[in-house]
Symmetry: C2
Subunit: 301 residues, 2 copies
């Protein structure tokens, strides 16, 4: 039995416009993408609020992946909603509408089962909330955290206070520069490591990801796709696949982490092939292993 | 004895301004960078014009690398000169001054030794000149070509005519998009392969490179460097290291080409560490092998 993972973040409904089309009220949110990706490898506790409008069918889709929904808390009001439009270059997008709904003021009291989870992922939310949640865990083996430019700007002291508690910080190039003040990404990563984060994983979208550890660097390309249909949730899916594979193997060595990062890349390469989590929800473990082998073929020399 | 390589392109003097400083009249030019990089692996014939101002010391620096300079033709006039300034983001640069000098009107008649070279690289020059030179070779085993946005714009028919003759086209993301009309790089590469190019190698600067072959893709990251001092010539150096390693091994299989691409990446990672070719001219074969092993450590999982 794999060790379990607790993830806190958002569960949402997204309206997504891409050059390829539009999807309304698609299941979304950082914790949802993470949880589905991780669920292929390990038991997942999903900690997030939803509104009274959250339908049984969405709950059933997550339950079908074996995700523990006891902490998917129904609160008075409506579920978080986001409406975004991607440019012709799908690396760029505009947010047309955002409604936090029941997410505003959310501060969960974790159940004992969740507090005991050995793997913890703090999705991209207010650092003060990330910290308040982290303090409820009894003794996690590995803590990962995602953040974004908004929090680095608006909540830097709270974010910096939590850095020394992190085994893995997952951010993109631009966030690494912003957090560190360094223009060069390897320099940015070194400075963040100097603040006590054990490892920094820099996401580079279509260019893959780079893991910076003290004394070691690992770079993996993204899977070359002719069509990136909908990039929504790719980063959260990447983190979920990675944490899931880590929890399943229990191998937190550099080699184990590298293999887990490739599994994260595999899941991310699938999720962008259709709107929302549709493609990922239709995967089997054999699809994942087949693409893992394609990553080996893509990178070996 | 390794098979020999013939390269045609420019030999120049560059004035380079980067955020780190300035160098005046630095030895430069696409064929110079290529030839020095390739010279670590195989005999190189350098085909390029220089002016009467080209000093013995520069000639001696190239001769010291064992490069055949019998086709480094001195013509009346001055050597090609370029003056560029890099932005704080060294991926961007402005050309402040460009003087083709003796390069204008250059059309070499190759000696028999050069015409027999089994490995041919057509540096980034007018496609009509690339074609006129290519036709002088008696039976090359492998022909590589570099080009740029200017030629894709201004000389597309001549460039397209030469594509079916190429074993390896070396271009960057933007040039691949421009040449193919496809916004997505894997799609762009597929379309270029459909025109008869055997393999397309897409350079992505700080993100590495991707080789597209029919039925196979290989991606290698760039070496993570805290300081990119001067990116001038990195692409030409990459191509030179790659062609040199290919000529040395004689292994033109997919596996052989992958290893050669890593050697190209190794040379490119060195050349950017100082102005012009200074760092590369100071390398030994052991430096190259040590960084090759670092690329293995960087990518293996």
């Amino acid at each position: 039995m794999s060790a379990s993972i607790a993830v806190i973040g958002s569960v949402a409904f997204d309206t997504i416009e891409t050059p390829a089309g539009r999807a309304d009220d698609e299941l979304g949110g950082s914790a949802m993408y993470f949880a589905v990706a991780a669920s292929f490898f390990a038991p997942v506790h999903l900690v997030a609020p939803v509104g009274e409008d959250f339908p049984p069918a969405s709950r059933a889709a997550l339950a079908a992946r074996g995700i523990d929904l006891a902490s998917l808390e129904t609160r008075p009001g409506t579920t978080f909603r986001w409406h975004g439009r991607y440019h012709e270059d799908v690396n760029k997008r505009d947010t047309l509408h955002l409604d936090l709904g029941v997410f505003a003021g959310f501060l969960p009291a974790l159940r004992d089962t969740v507090r005991a989870a050995p793997y913890v992922f703090l999705g991209n939310i207010d650092p003060a909330l990330q910290r308040a949640v982290l303090e409820q865990f009894t003794g996690p083996l590995l803590v990962g955290l995602d953040t974004m430019n908004h929090w680095i700007d608006a909540a830097r002291p709270a974010l910096e206070a939590i850095l020394p508690r992190l085994d893995l910080l997952v951010i993109n190039d631009e966030e690494a520069r912003q957090l560190s003040g360094a223009g060069n990404v390897p320099t940015a990563a070194r400075r963040i490591l100097e603040r006590g984060v054990r490892r920094v994983l820099v996401k580079r979208g279509e260019y893959g990801a780079v893991l910076f550890s003290p004394g070691s660097v690992f770079a993996v390309p993204a899977f070359p796709l002719e069509s990136v249909f909908d990039p929504t949730g790719a980063g959260d899916t990447f983190a979920g696949g990675l944490m899931g594979a880590l929890a399943a193997s229990g191998d937190r060595s550099d080699a184990g982490l590298r293999r887990a990062i490739v599994y994260g890349s595999v899941l991310a390469s699938f999720v962008v092939e259709d709107f929302g989590p549709r493609r990922m929800l239709g995967l089997g473990r054999d699809d994942i292993e087949a693409r893992y082998r394609q990553f080996v073929a893509l990178t070996q020399f």
